[in-house]
Symmetry: C2
Subunit: 221 residues, 2 copies
C-alpha cells in the first residue's frame, strides 16, 4: 500500500492525489508539514518538501516525477497525450503552473492566509495578497487563451496540465484568491473538473484553522 | 533544422545542448537574452525564459519537457534509465538540481557576477556570493553522497540527472562559485563528463564581458 505524506493545502500533493484517483490507485494519506517535523520529512526527501510517496520499499519525491512514474506503470487514464508534441505541451504547461502559478499566486496566499494564521500567528500582508490577486487574474486570462484553442489545457484530451493547474487553482480558491467573475471559459473548465469524483474528494478536505469560502466546493460558483 | 534560442551562461540551455549533442541532434544556436528583446522571447515562450527550441512548425519550451521530447523521439543515448523507479530517481534529481542548485547557487552567481557586470554595471554583493559558495559546498556534498551509492547520479547509467547537474555546475564553475578541493568523487565524475565531446563544445563557449577561471575548461582541475 502506498502512503502519501502530504498536507491538505499543498498544491503539489493535491496534483498527486488527483492523478492517482484518476488512475484508480489507492493511497493512504499521512499528514505531515514541511514546517514541523522537518527531520522526518528530510529523511524521506532531501528537499524537505511534500509530497513524498512511499510503500516501504520505494520512495518517490517530486510531484512531476510521481505523475510520470504512474503514467508509465498504470495504463488507465493516460495523463500525457498520444504524440510527443502533445506530451511536450502538457509538460510545459505543468511546469508553468507549478512554477509560475505557484510562485506568484499559491505560495504568497499560503504564506499570508495559512502559514501566518496557523503557524506564526502574524497578521497577513494586504499588499502581498493584492499582488497575488492580480497575478491570479493574469493566470486566468492565460487559461482562457488556452481554452480558446483546445478542449483541455494542452490538447484534445484531459491530462497533466489540467491536473496541475486544477490543483494550484483549488488551493488559491480555498484561500479566497480567485475572482471567477468574467472568466466563463475557465469557470466551465473548472466546473467540469469539480464534478469528477477523483477531484471531489480533495475538495472535501479541510485544513485546521483555515476555512474556505462557501462557493469553494460547490459545482455552481 | 532545430534552432535553440539561448545564451551561453543559461544552465537550462546548457542541459538541452548537452543532451542533444549526446543524442546526435544538431541544432542551430540563436543568441537571445531574457533581459533584452523580451517581447520576441515571450512571443515564443509565454514564460519569457530561455531555452526555446523551434523548427518553424513546432515550438518546445521548458528544458525538462525538451529533454523528455527527445528521449521519446530519439533512441540513441537514452537519458532516463531502464525501469520506472530509476526513471523516477532521474527526474527527482533533475528537479533537485534545476530548482535547488539553480536557486541557491547558479541564480545568485548569475545575478552577482554576470547580470550586474554586463547589464546594470553595479558592483557584486559579496555576501550573496559567500552564501552561494556555502550552498555550493552543500550541493557538492550531496553529489558525493549520491556517487557513494551509484556510478552515476541516479543509477548505474549516465542520464538526465548527470546532464542537469553538470549544466548547473558548469555555469557556477565559470562564475568561480565551485571550490573543488576536498571533493575527489565529484571531481572524478565531473572530469569524466568534461572529456565527453558533447560537453566539451559547451565549455568552449564564452559570455561576452565575463571571463571564466583558467581551470574551467581543463580536464585536470
Ligand atoms: N518540486 C516539488 C515542490 C514541492 C513543494 O514546493 N512543496 C512545498 C509545500 S506545498 C514544500 O514542501 N515547501 C517547503 C520547502 O520548500 O522547504 C514537487 O513538485 O513536489
Ligand atoms: N523551467 C525553465 C527555467 C528556465 C529559466 O529559468 N531560464 C532563465 C535563464 S537561465 C530565464 O530565462 N530567466 C528569466 C525569467 O525567468 O524571467 C526551464 O527548465 O527551461
Amino acid at each position: 500500500m502506498w502512503r502519501l505524506h502530504q498536507f491538505p493545502l499543498c498544491p503539489f500533493s493535491r496534483a498527486v492525489r488527483f492523478a492517482l484517483a484518476e488512475k484508480g490507485v489507492v493511497v493512504e494519506l499521512v499528514p505531515v508539514t514541511p514546517w514541523g517535523g522537518r527531520d522526518a520529512l528530510v529523511a524521506m526527501n532531501p528537499a524537505g518538501q511534500t509530497p513524498v510517496l512511499e510503500n516501504g520499499t520505494l520512495t518517490l519525491c517530486d510531484s512531476m516525477a510521481i505523475l510520470e512514474y504512474f503514467d508509465e506503470t498504470v495504463e488507465r487514464a493516460p495523463l500525457l497525450g498520444a504524440g510527443a508534441a502533445e506530451r511536450a505541451e502538457g509538460r510545459r504547461l505543468a511546469a508553468w503552473f507549478a512554477q509560475r502559478f505557484y510562485g506568484e499566486v499559491t505560495a504568497p496566499l499560503l504564506r499570508e492566509r495559512m502559514y501566518k494564521r496557523v503557524v506564526t500567528r502574524e497578521p497577513p500582508d494586504g499588499n502581498a495578497i493584492r499582488l497575488a490577486g492580480r497575478a491570479a487574474e493574469v493566470q486566468l486570462q492565460y487559461l482562457e487563451y488556452l481554452l480558446d484553442h483546445n478542449r483541455w489545457l494542452a490538447g484534445p484530451t484531459f491530462g497533466v496540465a489540467d491536473v496541475v493547474a486544477a490543483a494550484q487553482i483549488s488551493v488559491a480558491d480555498y484561500l479566497m484568491g480567485i475572482e471567477w467573475g468574467g472568466h466563463e471559459a475557465a469557470r466551465t473548465w473548472y466546473s467540469a473538473l469539480k464534478s469528477r469524483p477523483s477531484f471531489r474528494s480533495l475538495l472535501s478536505d479541510r485544513m485546521e484553522g483555515v476555512r474556505p469560502p462557501p462557493h469553494y466546493d460547490q459545482l455552481d460558483f
